[in-house]
Point group: C2
Chain length 397, copies 2
């Protein structure tokens, strides 16, 4: 059970057991990918679960590390911090008010605590998955970036996402007729129903069909060309979940999408892993053959404070991810459905594809911008289709 | 010396001694603003300097806290983390390879260490100011957001910024004829010359005039209407540096700017302090009377992974911050001058003003968008002035 945890719900049992088997203690150490290939050192995730054995001896060490700041008198104070290991060399600590839940499923350790400034926190295998304060950024962006890029999405599949947050966001889209979700870990679903009602509310929508099981198997059995959109709310694509960033997995995704259907996959931090993102973009360009893009947004409790998204369109009707074809502001009731929208809007959608110079240099060559080529051919009034109300940002590409 | 540290060099001695005087130990505690008004609890910065007295007893505790992760055998390992307290309730830890410098000026404690994944790190009064890895985001954005918003800036003033990074960025602008910098702490300048040559290189430009002293006094003595742009690379505007976010300080800035001149001030995180940002926007709107905007960007080692910028134009020729009037890509030699540009580009400039829905709700009413009102009056071809090469993002506002 060592190695990277799921970001936001887990996905395949097969993937999770194929991970690294090192035995090093502490905040880093060697590791190997699921295929036995050694990982580059920057990609060896801090071993969140390493103190697990110790946890059995010390009641205060739950999962991950706790730090106890020294007080002036030299004694330790009662203040407790949950130390979220990120990548080797850094960690982010959150002050713990109260441990609310600790348990273990066949797949992972599950911890919920009340933090003093980020609300409730969900931790899987020692890695912070979400907090009340900033979950809006991740859930809204991973959902609306793909769904607002295509007109009238009807059939949607979520892989992972057992907390229900992505479901909550999909439900804002009135055009959606059915939502399949394939989550391997029933415990994540149950715990989130108890402690994160604002997320698990997504499961209450009658359009949702829950499949508890292995995502790879589910995809293999899905009829070809079924989905308008697939959202992979998955493990970090390193170590145990390596399989989820390799070509065979993307092939099964592409098979399950209709022509012109779209995939959105969480895709790590541009500050930490551009080479990994390059690999994912290369594979996806080869697999999906439509436009392939990288987007990012701010999530304070994720490593380096950002998270990336891989957006891919299957060959078919062209998709211009850079400008929402299906803007959320124009969807009836979408802004108010369930909880208010806190993060996403059409301007944030466009801005998410704008990359800092270093990331642009390293990633732009790996993206496919079918929409640009097509627009270049249209010389008459190339901007017309993008004209939006005053004060909005437009893309000319 | 307790309370918030300077973000990126210090500014006024007067401001820094007028801060909080609490005596609480640990990672948080009460505090009061420079004016004696109690701070809201969310604004009491983690007391980075609290373990200072302890530092004299324990050689391993330098400034701020160090955490020593437990190893499997129950003994502490030799791995050392620098624990950067952010705001109450959270901290970010960086693994320390080697302490390179420790010292104390009349104004603050100065620490430089080599981290294992972010390169060299500068710490003032226990707060991380910059790291080799991500300084590009802060330095480039705080400089080019204002300088690329006005045509041909000639006279520029930097307040704080003793590391030299902002100077390095200003020097890319060939139109600039003189650069004044007012930094109170000679030690910061000297230490950065020794350990951060990629930043302090900014001091070598013959256009730079260094003034070591109090910024408020410097501004009072500056001839009225002198500067095209002023960049405040200052302390966090809470506690000791409270004076730097109050009306009298902004009045002296406005006085020193020419009509239509611009200010860029670091302005905290939208995730943590929207009420503080609202206060700053209100004061600036009243003071500068031109357009006033909030922008943000990603900086992994700052609290919540982002930093904000306040952009204000003095009454006079209107300034549209949202679209660079003076795009860096068109400035001869700017991209290559000294070090390559790593973060800023014209698309990032526009995207920096796009706010998540929660921040837009809380801040938009406080911004003045003179450029929008003016463009609304121009009904003929309103988009024309914004048309940029294909693939660039445009603003219609």
């Amino acid at each position: 059970m060592e190695g990277g945890g799921a970001r936001n719900g887990s996905t395949t049992g097969a993937a999770r057991t194929g991970g690294s088997g090192g035995d090093a203690a502490g905040g880093g150490g060697g590791g190997s990918a699921g295929n036995g290939k050694p990982l580059p050192p920057c990609c060896v995730k801090a071993r969140a679960a390493a103190p697990e054995s110790e946890a059995k001896c010390h009641a205060t060490v739950v999962s991950g590390w706790f730090t106890e700041p020294r007080s002036r008198g030299g004694k330790t104070s009662k203040v407790q911090y949950y130390n979220n290991p990120m990548w080797p060399g850094e960690a982010h600590s959150l002050k713990v008010e109260k441990i609310l839940y600790q348990g273990k499923s066949p797949y992972q350790e599950v911890l919920v605590f009340e933090s003093s400034t980020y609300g409730k926190v969900l931790v899987l295998d020692g890695i912070v998955q979400l907090t009340d304060k900033d979950e809006c950024a991740y859930q809204e962006m991973i959902t609306h970036l793909p769904l607002c890029s295509i007109p009238s999405p009807k059939k949607v599949l979520v892989i992972g996402g057992g907390d229900g947050g992505v479901l909550r966001e999909i439900c804002r889209h009135g055009s959606v007729e059915s939502i399949d979700i394939c989550e391997i870990d029933q415990l994540v679903i149950d715990v989130c129903k108890d402690f994160f009602p604002d997320l698990s509310v997504g499961f209450k929508d009658p359009r949702v069909r829950l499949h508890v099981g292995d995502a790879v198997e589910f995809l293999r059995n899905a009829p070809e060309g079924t989905y308008d959109a697939i959202i992979v709310d998955s493990s970090d694509p390193i170590g145990p979940a390596q399989e989820l960033v390799e070509k065979p997995f993307f092939d099964t995704i592409a098979r399950a999408l209709r022509p012109g259907g779209v995939l959105c996959n969480q895709a790590e931090s541009m500050w930490l892993h551009t080479h990994l993102i390059q690999d994912m973009l290369s594979i996806c360009r080869e697999t999906f053959k439509g436009s392939v893009h990288y987007a990012w947004t701010s999530v304070p409790t994720y490593p380096s404070g950002v998270i990336g998204f891989l957006l891919c369109a299957k060959e078919g009707p062209p998709v211009n991810f850079l400008t929402p074809a299906n803007p959320i502001e124009k969807l009836e009731g979408a802004m108010e459905a369930g909880r208010d929208i806190r993060f996403y809007n059409s301007e944030m959608h466009r801005a998410a594809f704008v990359l800092p110079t270093f990331a642009r240099r390293e990633l732009e060559a790996y993206c496919t911008t079918i929409e640009r080529e097509q627009q270049e051919e249209t010389t008459a009034e190339p901007l017309k289709m993008n004209i939006m109300p005053n004060s909005e940002i437009l893309t000319a590409s």
